[in-house]
């Protein structure tokens, strides 16, 4: 399973569990317009940390928060590469 498909699955399962309508997710989808709220993102980040062992929001050198779904996937991709390199 790719990181992207894992993240996609988390968005879908958290949206379902929190009864939020989820917009179709493309790279350019703005996270805050996906239908999810801050609590949903907090849950997604926590479960991704459990599954992947990284939390790029805490560890990233990059000081910018992801804005789009594509940013979000890249945020994790980069963190995993840095994790492997370390």
């Amino acid at each position: 399973m790719t990181v992207r498909s894992l993240i996609l699955e988390k968005f879908q399962s958290v949206a379902a569990a929190q009864s939020k309508p989820l917009a179709p997710l493309a790279d350019e989808t703005v996270l805050l317009e996906s239908g999810l709220d801050s609590l949903c993102f907090a849950i997604i980040v926590a479960t991704l940390e459990d599954d992947l062992g990284v939390d790029p929001f805490t560890t990233a050198e990059d000081v910018y928060f992801p804005v789009t779904f594509g940013d979000f996937v890249a945020f994790y991709d980069n963190a995993l590469k840095a994790d492997v390199a370390a």
């Binding site: 805050l32 609590l39 907090a42 980040v45 910018y64």
Partner: protein, 461 residues
């Protein structure tokens, strides 16, 4: 411009040299402060509200702001209901606070009070022919979350609430304040008062307004001073609408501001001063940190003779300040201030080098995006499930909301249907608890650690 003891908000506004240029923006409303200072939205009932203990229950924060301006100095007491206060809690709150008037917008609040005056608010303000009497030192009552889930009410006065506000510099351009907080909570109320006392205007959020819409309005009205919790700011940083604002001052409070959010804000708003403040509903505004680093300098504890003194006792931050709430309404909630005048904030700190860092709250209280969660309230709901022996609710650190709520559950006996029990527990939590209090994960555990005294062992959350 520290107000004299008896000066009311309306009088402070009326004395403003720049009043004609000042505005209050609601969701769809643009109200000149001059109209507010010289008018009333209380349908001709302002005089009748004099000396009363008023429950202020509004759906729209704009009406709450208008009522506060009108009632300060006129009412004996204003009880400011936060947006998430349940209708079911209204009767007890009204009884405890001796309410004899209710001011509301929209639908009549479901509250039966004999002999109480119910006043509906309307826009636009009607001009007042006679200046109302405004000579009372009105008690401002705010809600804080209680362990049993029933909110406690703390009493403040305008003087204490505005004690940390510095006078406006007449040479500075007039500020436009904005906040992601609700002004019916301590953090947001501070900003409303800063705008009103500091020759400013203010943009108020409409109920349930998406962050992108609010950012667009803040940008349109030229917001200069913008405040929120670290969680609010993280949401801003994730929004493309963040580029619509160009604030001159950014402030964070209500939660631990970590280095990541401070650095991200610095990256997105280069050159803009960023401060994080410590305040609580009970202790008032404590201090502000403006060096861009998380935590606070240990030297703050050495400061003597100022408005606020700080100390650390058993790892907890304590404050002594004239801005502290004077008491709880009803008195039954225990002493608010210790014998020596210090308030125990319950916030645990740890010294690293020459700085103190916040590490969480005593008694496991969890801070989810600035909202306090008492684990006992959630455990009580979980423990009602017939298959549950006991449960422990704690916070898990989150880079998005500061913390999220997680639960560990011990069942009466091993069970084949653990998934079904989890679903039932979550369903029960959904029925009884606000969304931010519902556990985001439930782990079945064989046992829970207990203290020597037989209590659940709670780590600092």
């Amino acid at each position: 411009m520290s107000p004299p003891e008896q000066s009311s908000l309306r009088r402070i506004l009326q004395a403003s040299p720049r009043l004609a240029a000042r505005r209050l923006w609601g969701g769809d409303e643009r109200l000149p402060l001059a109209e507010i200072a010289g008018g009333s939205c209380l349908g001709g009932h302002l005089e009748q509200l004099a000396g009363r203990s008023v429950l202020l229950r509004t759906g729209d924060p704009l009406f709450a702001a208008l009522a506060l301006i009108e009632l300060d100095g006129v009412a004996r007491r204003i009880v400011l209901c936060p947006p998430d206060l349940a209708d079911a809690d209204l009767p007890l709150a009204a009884e405890t606070a001796g309410i004899d008037a209710v001011v509301f917008d929209g639908a009549l609040p479901p509250l039966r009070l004999t002999d109480a005056l119910f006043v509906a608010m309307h826009l636009p303000p009607a001009p007042l022919t006679a200046a109302p009497r405004a000579e009372l030192a009105t008690e401002w009552v705010m809600f804080t979350s209680g362990t049993s889930g029933v909110p406690k009410m703390v009493i403040h006065g305008l003087r204490g609430l505005t004690g940390a506000i510095k006078p406006a510099d007449p040479d500075d351009p007039p500020p436009v304040w904005g906040t992601f907080y609700d002004i019916r909570r301590y953090g947001g109320l501070q900003i409303l008062l800063r705008a009103l006392l500091g020759e400013g205007s203010m943009v108020l959020a409409r109920p349930g307004e998406p962050v992108a819409d609010l950012l667009a309005r803040l940008g349109r009205h030229g917001v200069t001073h913008l405040t929120g919790t670290p969680s609010h700011w993280r949401r801003v940083l994730m929004s493309p609408a963040a580029r619509l604002i160009a604030p001159k001052y950014i402030r964070l409070s209500g939660e631990i501001a970590d280095q990541a959010v401070l650095d991200s804000l610095k990256g997105s708003f280069p050159g803009v001063p960023i401060g994080h403040a410590y305040a609580s509903t009970e202790a008032g505004v404590g201090f502000e940190v403006n060096d861009g680093l998380e935590g606070f300098p240990a030297a703050f504890l050495e400061r003597r003779g100022g408005e606020v003194e700080m100390r650390v006792m058993d790892g907890a931050l304590q404050l002594r300040s004239a801005r502290t709430a004077s008491a709880y309404v009803g008195g039954g909630a225990g002493p608010l201030i210790g014998d020596d005048g210090f308030v125990d904030t319950g916030d645990m700190v740890e010294r690293r080098g020459d700085r103190y860092h916040f590490v969480g709250r005593r008694n496991g209280v969890i801070n989810v995006g600035g909202l306090k969660v008492h684990p006992e309230e959630i455990e009580a709901v979980i423990n009602r499930h017939p298959a549950v022996r006991m449960s422990l609710v704690r916070g898990r650190r989150s880079p998005i909301t500061g913390a999220i709520v997680v639960a560990e559950v011990v069942l009466n006996q091993p069970c084949d249907a653990e998934a079904a029990v989890k679903d039932e527990i979550i369903a029960a939590c959904r029925r009884h608890l606000a969304p931010f209090k519902i556990p985001t994960s439930i782990r079945m555990a064989p046992a829970l650690a207990m203290t020597a005294g037989g209590k659940l062992e709670r780590a600092v959350a």
